[in-house]
Symmetry: C2
Subunit: 592 residues, 2 copies
């Protein structure tokens, strides 16, 4: 009982050991992460097509809930780029930006995604995330990064460029380029330049000034706050908002109120697929960050409990009027490097955001949207990894095809089509590749009882005996392949009287393959040929014994391939066993 | 050039060796198969919801085309039960039975299915049939058999009972049972009883009269012709058609005319999925019969060419006004047992059907529909194999779930839903089962350099070294499983300094798994642990060398697990190697 409670409420474990020293530490970390999270919250709310305060709302309750349920000591949850883009896409098909229906749908999406994650966690369905192969998720994130960056070029230039997909976005951008607002563009590009410099140039400079490596890293990460302060001041001082520079404007003060998503079944039905995709993509990103950071301190992360924690966080986001969130990479790294010792750091960050929401929103009035757009562009460009295309191409053409397909489809048709087709293609390619397993004709190595691929070794084969080794489990994708192969081999060689299947790499035989083996056995029997198995693994044999196959098998099941051959032709097998190791003439004689 | 031509036109091969003796033989076979095919053609046209002559049309051109393109010497193509039911379902959603649109759609379905099969054959896409796992196809055929039989109970009783699915059919049957026509029911049940007796009782009787085994078998198979002759005569003699017995009536005389399916793109789009399903189900049934019969005479069947042959046959069916066809089981067995030596027997059967269409259709005028329905029921009940459910349950619960699900869904929701969900479920279960591969902690067997599962053998493990053997290829469904497993193992055992992954059963490592291995290596490095591989197969290693992984690996890649351990702790490994084979105390000492 107590163990179960501890499993589902990790806070009971770390909370019991909490000390004053840990508290001071976590408070410091929270202050740093808050500085980083404020601009990100505002910016990603814009990516999701929502008012800026919704980003702040999504950065309070979820952090507290993750602190209670989460198993990672470093993960920082909140609004992230890809989930925000997916939210905009999903909700955009239901309502127009700026309407209460749009906000309601975003809240419903967070609720649905949260419920799905909790259910997946409770039923231990984390393996569902496996369906997203690496090429697909990597291609998808790259494409999302490109699409988000393209979407923010409009605000940077001060023009309105809309579009559901990257292609539509670029088209709209090119069409409206003439409406560029000079002041906005200057702010936008200056911020872009500054932020790029902060990423590349600031850290070496700080190091030269004698600031420690880790502190320099963290200072570089809060660069956006400086950009926000300076550009806000500039707009205010020069009244640029009267010269066409779009500003954030009035952000409602105060904490979010308890909200419930609209209880509209048809709405929930429409959001089901996007919610599932957001859940899985968010989980995959989050668990990967959590495992990486936990490994550095040999801490434990429970993948199933993480589903529950992310689910609870999303439900928290929903009931406090926020939108779908997940663990963020950059933010978690800062959390880790600043020295977060417990998930309490996250809860304190939530308090920091709450204070900002209560007291600092008036300061955001003159914040130019171009600055937020620039911070988004710089942040998401780190998601774009085109070199992965090349690496994957070199390693596997099939995986490359899945990755390129996902990228192109995401850019042209949108995030959902990209992901779904990517998953379908990678499952298809997987089934295709396992449908033609490697099968070797094996022969005996003279002087030994060992059998090896005759194409790679000088090995003896016996007339009348076909020895095949199949290097794959036998299941439905390849069941008929084996039937065809044996049927062709036997038809093209009328001397064959015995077929032996060596199974050292067969980890499982499913019902389809069992049916194929039975068919092979029956057909060989009709042709006057016996069928043997050798080197069948223990668990596979246990299961075969539960079928009629072993009873019907015309040959036997042998421990080793040698035993199988010896049971058919003891003389020849023994003579080869006793032959000197290097004896080409024997090999030739036996082969003929 | 000549070889290619021979590959695509098998008739060139067997045609060159054709002799007068073969001709006489094939003509005899054709006469027998024609007798069997006439009632089947008429009956399956009714199952498909088409006029009876369409069944005859579908039994001419396809047989000639299969004789030209087919590689099986025994396969008899034509209308079959399951494809007819699938046709009725697919076309039923587009038009009402009896309308020209219905017939047009059935013809378009045959054309589309034929084109798909030819394309699949030309591109060697036969592996697509692998997606239908055995439990799914077996469950589907059982459910189809039940549904067809239920659908024919109406005609047997002389009541009209319609329904898209089995459930609707039974419902309609029960509601209308009061309208049963006594004369029809007598004819129907007498025929049913007679046909069951022919199946079970006739053969022993014939054997007792000294008729040979094979001849008795064949005579039992033409039983339906006798039933047709007798019941037709009875209707004619007693004028039962005036007492409510539904009869076939006027069947148009003469050969089919050249027809083209309606060139309506939206129609073709609607038929695409059903056509694909019919193609694959038909192909799977057909190739299985062809391989079984070919094996008995050690003949060769080319699975890719069979796709082309079936495709050409369906295109032939379409242009001669027929509906989708495939190779039939019972009919092919009769063909084989009667002694068909070449596919020419099929072409001669087509001539037999043509003669029947030209001259015998007036004889069918008084044929009661109840007789045809009874022949269908007896024929399809052999498709129903409920014992497969039990066999599969004993062998594999997952496969049982897929089979039961397919049966229930087919009966409740219809053939397409049943098949599609069945395929999805079996792919899902396959990915699920491979997502948790068997992984064993291995230890050294004292006195040897062999490593085995410590849970099954008395084997020595070394403090600080975690040796794992993974019994499955590494690909995206299980990539993250390995990450989690190693991360948990290392987190729960702080003594570990080295992790060795033994890969003798790893046949492939895809990009996702490569990424996981890289992540594992990086994370272990962060935790001060080295990562080694052993027993990596040649092709897997060749590929790994094309990635950065081998360069970044903190440990080495070793030929044997022993070499990996010896590279870390040569003393301990050697001491265990030299230890006497039975030495419990050493084992205990080394384990502690």
């Amino acid at each position: 009982m107590k163990t179960t409670l501890r499993r589902y409420l990790p806070i009971l474990t770390w909370g019991a050991e909490y000390s004053q020293r840990t508290l001071v530490n976590d408070l410091t970390v929270a202050a740093i992460v808050t500085m980083m999270l404020i601009p990100q919250s505002l910016a990603y709310a814009l990516v999701a097509g929502l008012p800026p305060q919704i980003g702040l709302y999504a950065s309070m309750a979820p952090l507290v809930l993750y602190a209670i349920f989460g198993t990672s000591r470093s993960l920082a949850v909140g609004p992230v780029a890809v989930a925000s883009l997916m939210t905009a896409t999903a909700v955009g098909t239901i309502a127009s930006q700026g309407t209460p229906e749009y906000l309601g749908a975003a809240i419903a999406l967070a609720m649905l995604s949260g419920l799905m994650l909790v259910v997946m966690g409770a039923l231990r369905l984390g393996f569902l995330a496996n369906f997203l192969s690496h090429p697909v998720i990597s291609g998808f994130i790259t494409a999302s990064g490109i699409q988000i960056a393209a979407g923010q070029l409009g605000p940077v230039l001060g023009i309105s460029a809309k579009g559901e997909t990257f292609i539509e976005n670029v088209h709209s951008l090119v069409k409206n380029i003439g409406n560029t607002n000079l002041y906005t563009a200057v702010i936008g590009f200056t911020t872009l330049g500054f932020l790029f410099w902060v990423r590349r140039g600031l850290k070496p400079l700080l190091l030269r000034f004698g600031i420690g490596e880790r502190a320099a890293d963290i200072m570089a990460k809060v660069g956006p706050v400086v950009a926000i302060a300076l550009t806000t001041a500039a707009v205010w001082a020069f009244g640029l908002n009267n010269r066409g520079v779009s500003i954030v404007g009035l952000v409602p003060k105060g904490l979010p109120k308890l909200t419930l998503p609209p209880l509209d079944l048809s709405l929930w039905a429409k959001l089901a697929v996007p919610a599932l995709l957001i859940s899985i993509v968010g989980y995959v990103e989050s668990i990967s960050v959590a495992l990486t950071l936990a490994a550095k301190k040999r801490q434990r992360v429970d993948p199933d409990q993480e589903l529950i924690a992310l689910g609870a966080s999303n439900i928290g986001a929903a009931v406090s009027g926020g939108f779908p969130i997940t663990g963020g990479f950059a933010r978690s790294v800062v959390n880790f490097e600043a020295g977060a010792e417990t998930p309490a750091a996250g809860a304190f960050t939530a308090v920091g955001i709450a204070i900002a929401t209560l007291f600092l929103t008036p300061l955001l009035f003159f914040l130019p949207n171009a600055t937020l757009a620039a911070t988004i562009i710089v942040a998401v460009l780190s998601l774009v990894d085109l070199s992965a295309l090349k690496r994957t191409y070199v390693y596997s053409r099939a995986d490359f095809a899945a990755m390129l397909g996902t990228i192109l489809l995401t850019l042209v048709e949108g995030v959902e089509a990209g992901l779904i087709v990517g998953v379908a293609v990678s499952i298809f390619l997987h089934l295709y590749s396992t449908s033609r397993p490697h099968v070797a004709v094996v022969g005996q190595i003279p002087g030994t009882a060992t059998f090896r691929n005759v194409e790679r070794h000088t090995a003896v084969t016996y007339p009348g005996i076909l020895s095949l080794r199949v290097d794959e489990s036998l299941y439905f994708p390849n069941a008929r392949f084996l039937e065809d192969l044996i049927s062709q081999s036997v038809a093209s060689n009328p001397d064959i009287r015995h077929v032996i299947l060596e199974c050292p790499a067969v980890n499982t035989i499913d019902s389809s393959a069992l049916e194929s083996l039975e068919a092979i056995n029956r057909r060989l029997k009709d042709g006057g040929i016996t069928f043997h198995l050798s080197e069948v693994k223990g668990p596979v044999m246990d299961r075969l014994k539960r079928s009629h196959f072993i009873g019907e098998l015309t040959g036997g099941v042998h421990l080793r391939q040698y035993d199988a051959v010896a049971s058919i032709d003891p003389d020849v097998a023994r003579r080869t066993l006793e032959a000197p190791l290097v004896n080409g003439s024997l090999v030739e004689a036996a082969k003929a």
